[in-house]
Amino acid sequence: MPPSPSPRSGSGGPPASTVELVVNGRSRTVRLDNRTSLLDALREELRLTGSKKGCDHGQCGACTVLLDGRRVNSCLVLAVAASGRPVTTVEGLAAGDRLHPVQQAFLDRDAYQCGYCTPGQICSAVGVLAEAAAGWPSAVTPPGRDGADGSVAGLDAAEVRERMSGNICRCGAYANIVPAVLDAAAATAGAGADGSDGGAVGARS
């Protein structure tokens, strides 16, 4: 559903729109200040505070969610622009008590400390697995391998480091995040890169 804006005058308040937020498979229609970022809509309006705010400027990745199955910095997306589009947050990855393979791998590898970057890292990693499965190259993918391979098995440590570099971890858990993502890649290989309802990039439409 496209957002329906209200006229600037008349209400007295800041311009607002009615927005349909489709998050983790659930749809809710809310009235939002047009300035509201997707991140703030999730955190303040829906009280889904799993997505974190580390910078609010697209510089840290703590707010990473999957939008249309692709990872985005939700602090850089206006909520009105996400109206009607499926969003997956860290809260939507586990199937009941069963953790998503990426979540499980982060636990097993102690791929975090304070945990504040972690939801963003995990959503980002889910996106990475899908991107790799769809054959998307990264800056370190050797020429000739780009896009042709199309398998998660193409992920190695160098690929993971490169693809996960949009997510800062000030606690410095990188040396554990890389094996965690590789574990998750191995666990999901063959079963589709993404165990969630977020869908895989490229494959979805």
């Binding site: 200040d33 400027h57 953790l99």
Partner: protein, 711 residues
């Protein structure tokens, strides 16, 4: 709400672990963290909440003449605009960070001059940008130099450490020395940048206030709020269940604490306030830039005759923070003649403060770089040089070390990296466009402890609850304390609940100085042992109702033996430097540490990794650039202040030496949160020298320092 978490399911008991080395434990709050259910300070569900946004000074020095409140109050959703002209006068704690909106003075660019409170965060933020502040500006000086006219010797350094130390005749001994190093090393302003911005949710109910706050210790936050608002302790509660990192910046209350409480009282609604990432660069402390002159003199065999380490640092005009840069130099190496000294420049800058290993971290960069230079001038192996100067006792205090295994760390690290095969000549190894080099540096950090209290309750169902106001800022404290509690109780870990992060719990010190596990763990061990004894004595079949005992370590910490308690380590870096571009890549880091008993190998390893990773940032990336004209750290965001990202860190290997130390505390632990950053930058810079033959004495090492195109 108070840090209640389920223990990991494991049947392992203390007896089974054999006492010294615990079975690894995964984080007790891990599930909450990976599913997004862990609530941080800004995130506690509160109804009818209002949002506060800081308006920060955009002049570096002067006075606020007026704030145009009326224009802002006319905008929709605005509940209040507070500035010193309309804010109530409040009591002072003596820490300028709590003196918010109390004076018209602007001491540094970025200081809070007003706060906007509005019904939405969007509106608070926009109005904060619209509020007109009228300043009377005054001239400012914000750039540190070694000949600043304001330089003085502080009465004492941070943490009460003496400003100077001197033995023998360092000047004469230096002149006499056969081999000498006399160099100046510089480090820039460094910013903690915990991932979770400083935030407070403040809720008044009648005459009580509850804060969900992001800090390294909720007791000092509670006490500060009591002082400023003149409230008795039982009317203030501070909850800090999960904290998104601190690295020193959350050791004391930052401006949002007082401002959120004030705003919430003023508008009669709960208030959330978070600092923005940009605001953090001025408002939560940072590591002072340093200028350090190190003079080393040795005989031809490499024996140090003199160590002379003098540091220049900066502080703000209205509050002193004098970083103890030379402190590690006092314990590292033997030499008859020695001096450490500190001078502080008073500048119109934000107040510097604690950042991971204040003192040791910048000081050891300089000392360990100078040691590398000395090894080169001696034609001696830098590992051997350090071993040759190993002191038998504390070189300045003369006291024995409770344990000291620096040599073992150096030897083990050397083995791990194949140091014996290293060609010592700089610029001796090349692969394609890359020069490759390896470097070494020592690490050290004191093993402190502070008094703590705790309680332990045995439940009739065989379970236990242990309470201590510890704070887990990502260190794994909650998990380590669970391991220690289970061990002392002789109980399976999944029978023990540990409650931390709430000022209503038994009082304990902050997560700082790498003394959390030692301090809190001591109290937990003591109270759990007491409970166990009581149970065995009076209730061998288990208590019929809850049985609680309390303990404090206040007395245990008095009259301790006069020994030097210190952890040590050795770090080895391998770097490659492109001959074409000057690009510097870290191939590998190896750290070996001797830090007493390691309570939980899983989280301990992460602590070492994290410290070393931040040290790599210090070596190659991090640089607060002071803009002389604006008096501002110009690169105050994460796009321009570069911290390490995943691709910057390749292979890091961490090990520890099995070290038994009965004199540090009953558990035999030394702190591990800070030592990982100490020495890391020197190891990297020394490796850059080995790779390229270029000695860079100013951090971070830039590619233009080493690139052939730039020379």
């Amino acid at each position: 709400m108070t840090g209640t978490v389920a223990a990991p399911s494991t049947e392992q008991t203390a007896e089974q672990t054999g006492g010294r080395t615990s079975a690894p434990a995964h984080r007790v709050e891990g599930r909450e963290k990976v599913t997004g259910r862990a609530h941080y300070a800004y995130e506690y569900p509160v109804d009818e909440v209002a949002y506060a946004w800081a308006v920060c000074a955009d002049v570096p020095h002067g006075r606020v003449r007026h704030v145009d409140v009326d224009a802002a109050m006319g905008l929709p959703g605005v509940l209040a605009v507070l500035w010193h002209g309309n804010a109530p006068r409040m009591a002072s704690t003596g820490d300028a960070m709590q003196d918010q909106l109390q004076s018209d003075r602007v001491h540094f660019r970025g200081e809070v001059v007003a706060v906007v409170v509005a019904t939405t965060a969007e509106q608070a933020r926009e109005v904060a940008g619209l509020v007109r502040v009228d300043y009377a500006t005054e001239p400012h000086r914000s750039v540190l130099t070694e000949d600043d006219p304001s330089l003085y010797r502080p009465e004492q350094l941070n943490a009460g450490i003496p400003t100077t130390s001197e033995m023998g005749d360092p000047d004469a001994a230096f002149e006499r020395s056969e081999v000498r190093v006399d160099e100046v090393y510089r480090t820039p302003g460094l910013h903690n940048n915990a991932m979770e911005p400083h935030a407070t949710t403040a809720v008044w109910t009648d005459d009580r206030v509850t804060l969900w706050d992001s800090n390294q210790g909720s007791t000092p936050v509670r006490d500060a709020v009591c002082q400023v608002f003149e409230l008795p302790r039982d009317r203030v509660r501070v909850v800090s269940t999960h904290v998104g990192g601190g690295f020193g910046s959350k050791g004391t209350p930052r401006p949002q604490v007082v401002l959120a409480v004030l705003a919430a009282r003023h508008v009669g609604r709960p208030v959330r306030m978070a600092l923005t990432r940009q605001q953090m660069f001025a408002l939560v402390g940072y590591r002072t830039p340093t200028i350090q002159r190190v003079r080393l003199g040795a005989d031809r065999t490499g024996r140090l005759q003199v160590i002379d380490h003098r540091a220049v640092v900066q502080t703000a005009t209205h509050q002193e923070f004098a970083e103890q840069v030379g402190v590690a130099t006092r314990v590292m190496y033997a030499a008859r003649h020695r001096r450490t000294d500190h001078h502080v420049a008073v500048l119109d800058v934000p107040i510097p403060s604690w950042m991971r290993a204040p003192g040791e971290c910048p000081g050891m960069y300089a000392l360990e770089s100078a040691m590398d230079e000395l090894a080169v001038r001696l034609g001696m192996d830098p590992v051997e040089l350090r071993i040759r100067n190993e002191p038998a006792t504390d070189p300045e205090r003369g006291t024995p070390f409770s344990s000291r295994n620096l040599v073992a760390c150096l030897r083990r690290g050397a083995d791990l990296v194949g140091w014996a095969d290293r060609d010592p000549r700089p610029r001796s190894r090349r692969e394609g466009e890359w020069w490759i080099g390896t470097g070494v540096a020592s690490s050290t950090y004191p093993a402190y402890a502070s008094p703590a209290s705790a309680s332990a309750t045995a439940h009739p169902d065989g379970g236990y609850t242990v309470r201590v106001n510890a704070t887990d800022i990502g260190t794994g404290a909650r998990t380590a304390l669970l391991v220690l509690a289970a061990e002392a109780l002789g109980a399976a870990r999944d029978r023990v609940r540990i409650l931390i992060g709430d000022s209503d719990l038994p009082e304990a010190g902050v997560a700082g100085g790498s003394m959390g596990t030692a301090s809190w763990g001591w109290a937990v061990t003591k109270v759990c042992a007491a409970l166990r004894a009581e149970l065995e004595d009076r209730f061998p079949d288990g208590p019929a109702e809850d049985l609680t005992v309390q303990a404090s370590t206040e007395e245990d910490l008095q009259d301790r033996a006069d020994v030097t308690r210190q952890a040590f380590g050795a770090q080895f870096a391998t770097v490659r430097v492109s001959d074409v571009t000057g690009e510097i890549r870290l191939d590998r880091m190896v750290g070996v540490f001797a830090a007493g008993r390691i309570v939980n190998p899983v989280t301990a390893r992460s602590q070492f990794l994290g410290g070393m990773t931040m040290g790599v940032g210090m070596a190659l990336l991090e640089e607060g650039v002071m803009d002389a004209a604006f008096g501002d750290y110009a690169n105050h965001d994460l796009a321009t202040y570069h911290v390490p990202v995943n691709a910057d860190i390749r292979d890091i290997h961490v090990e520890w030496i099995d070290e038994h130390d009965e004199q540090v505390n009953p558990m035999g632990t030394k702190g591990i949160g800070e030592i990982g950053i100490v020495g890391a930058a020197a190891a990297v810079a020394n490796a850059v020298h080995h790779a390229t033959g270029i000695r860079v004495r100013s951090l971070p090492v830039h590619l233009e320092d080493v690139a052939s195109w730039a020379r």
